[in-house]
């Protein structure tokens, strides 16, 4: 469980990145945090594993105040996969990359080797186990960064822009991974601009602008509110956008349509 209460954060250069943020994310939830670059999304999630400590306010993870624990201790509960995998990868081989945090967390050799196998398998990286991370494609490096976090089995997983620069097939793979994590009962926080992806995969959306939360709710409520999406400088997903325009023009009666089949049913009544 993540509890953020009235958090402010100011970087050393005086930039105020968070301006009074409060939220609760319960166990097993899948939440997307969205907003334009500079809205404060990444600053917020860096508070979840204590990489940043609030200038004012409190962040609690499973009831623990992040000020009272080290990043290493919190990382065992909250695994963050950052946007650029290259900032995260440093080992000589793919296998060692995954091994690194497992060793740090003092898992036994048996557990380490089975976890490595498991993580390589679900991320489809087995054939690269002895290769250098730098010989992998960007998409593969991203999957490796996810694998190294999954391997030590944190309860909460934060994915920062998991689909950026990924092709459709890789996005489908990431969707499958998120599904798998959901079935494992993980809490998943996705920081993303990819609104079509969010439409398909997430239940709850938090919109940020200028270091504040400007909306927090069910996806149907948020994604059909074109005005609020514009305030967060997001381009609405195509079907909700089209449905909203058709509603405005009086063609259909519902304004909260998210999916193609829903819209088709509404249109069929008219066409």
């Amino acid at each position: 469980m993540i509890e953020v209460v009235d958090v402010y954060y100011e970087y050393a250069d005086g930039t105020r990145a968070l301006n009074g943020v409060s939220l609760r994310i319960g166990k097993g939830e899948i939440v997307a945090i969205m907003g334009e670059n500079g809205a404060g999304k990444t600053t917020l999630v860096k508070h979840f594993n204590g990489l940043l400590k609030p200038t004012k306010g409190t962040v609690k993870i499973n009831g623990i105040d992040t000020r009272e624990k080290s990043v290493a201790e919190l990382s065992k509960i909250v695994g963050i996969v950052f946007q650029n995998p290259d900032h995260q990868l440093f080992a000589d081989t793919v296998e060692e990359e995954i091994k690194f945090s497992l060793k740090n967390f003092n898992f036994s050799e048996d557990v380490i080797s089975s976890r490595i196998k498991w993580a390589l398998k679900i991320m489809e990286l087995e054939k690269y186990s002895r290769k250098s991370p730098y010989t992998l494609s960007v998409g593969e490096r991203k999957r490796l960064a996810i694998a190294s976090v999954l391997a030590y089995d944190p309860e909460i997983i934060v994915l920062d822009e998991p689909t950026a620069g990924q092709d459709w097939i890789q996005k489908e793979k990431i969707s499958e991974i998120i599904n798998l994590l959901k079935h494992m009962g993980k809490t998943i926080v996705i920081v993303t601009h990819d609104i079509e992806f969010v439409l398909e995969r997430v239940n709850r959306i938090i919109l940020m602008a200028n270091g504040k939360i400007i909306a927090d709710g069910k996806k149907r409520e948020i994604l059909s509110n074109i005005r609020i999406l514009e305030r967060a400088r997001l381009i609405p997903p195509q079907i909700p956008h089209l449905s909203y325009l058709l509603y405005e023009k009086g063609v259909i009666d519902r304004r909260d349509i998210l999916f193609l089949d829903e819209l088709l049913r509404e249109l069929e009544a008219r066409l």
């Binding site: 960007v138 092709d167 459709w168 601009h193 195509q238 079907i239 089209l242 063609v251 088709l264």
Partner: protein, 281 residues
């Protein structure tokens, strides 16, 4: 007249065991806005590097078949000559911007081409204005947002007035509105002036607003090439087909013909309304 003519092109890198491009046939002319897409590793970046001669001139490897740009055989033309005809912009503008100010960045390519200092300063002014960079002229590239950096990268390439602009995933690191601005800038500032733009892009819902043609590569081959709607429809489950394209064809199956394939939700709403209006009459 085609400004790019590729026939039966095969290529492999010095280290690759198999062909990376496997029999590419492709022609393109001025005024086209071509979106090149396909799964990672399909060879689209390799193909882009053929178009400005980095392949084979810089990368080496083995090239078979014919590749001509502005009627110049790329294997026999030095890259500095090809650079006058083909501008190239990459995913990460940081790797492309070297100078302390935007103005210097734009002047650099022109200096390299040996223009007089008067002409250089005229062209720099013109380019700054055309790409809406006048207010940023004294900024360092690292002080700019990702979208602004990409605009500078495009401007510094276009200052040399090439006929062709090739971009390799220019929006991969941008937020959606900045990505839309870049793709629109290419349309309004480059394609509308009769140049050819070839853009490698995964964000097809944004690209669809501007593309005149979509080319899909899989495993070193072009598997679909043509009018955006028909092309996307034919490659479902290989690339992410935008929802309005799917809806257009679902409506078509039910006997609803919209007057044109809509490029955006706004257009589709208008077409649906006029279709309903027509039926009411």
């Amino acid at each position: 007249m085609a400004v790019i003519e590729i026939s039966d092109l095969y290529y492999r890198y010095p280290v690759s065991t198999d062909w990376v491009l496997k029999g590419i046939n492709f022609r393109a002319k001025r005024g086209e806005y071509i979106i090149l897409t396909g799964p990672s590793g399909c060879g689209k970046s390799t193909f882009a590097r053929v178009l400005n001669g980095l392949i084979p001139n810089f990368y080496g490897g083995k090239l078979r078949g014919i590749a001509k740009v502005m009627n110049l055989d790329i294997s026999r033309t030095p890259t500095y000559i090809l650079a006058k005809h083909v501008g190239m912009v990459f995913q990460n503008p940081e790797n492309q911007l070297f100078f302390s100010t935007v103005e210097r960045e734009i002047a650099f390519g022109l200096e390299n081409l040996g223009y007089s200092s008067e002409e250089i300063s005229d062209r720099v002014e013109e380019t700054l204005e055309r790409f809406n960079l006048v207010h940023l002229r004294n900024k360092a590239p690292y002080e700019l947002s990702g979208g602004q950096q990409q605009r500078v990268a495009i401007a510094s390439v276009m200052a040399m007035d090439p006929e062709i602009l090739v971009m390799d995933e220019p929006t991969a690191n941008l937020d959606p509105l900045s990505a839309l601005e870049i793709l629109k800038l290419v349309k309004e500032n480059i394609v509308s002036r009769g140049k050819l733009a070839i853009v490698i892009e995964h964000r097809l819902e944004l690209a669809l607003r501007f593309a005149t043609r979509i080319v899909v590569m899989v495993d070193g081959r072009i598997i679909a090439d043509g009018q955006p709607f028909e092309t996307l429809q034919s490659v479902e489950n290989i690339v992410g087909v935008p929802k309005i394209v799917k809806l257009y064809y679902r409506l078509l199956n039910k006997g609803v013909y919209l007057k044109n394939p809509p490029r955006s939700p706004e257009e589709m709403a208008t077409y649906i309304c006029s279709e309903l209006g027509a039926r009411d009459d």
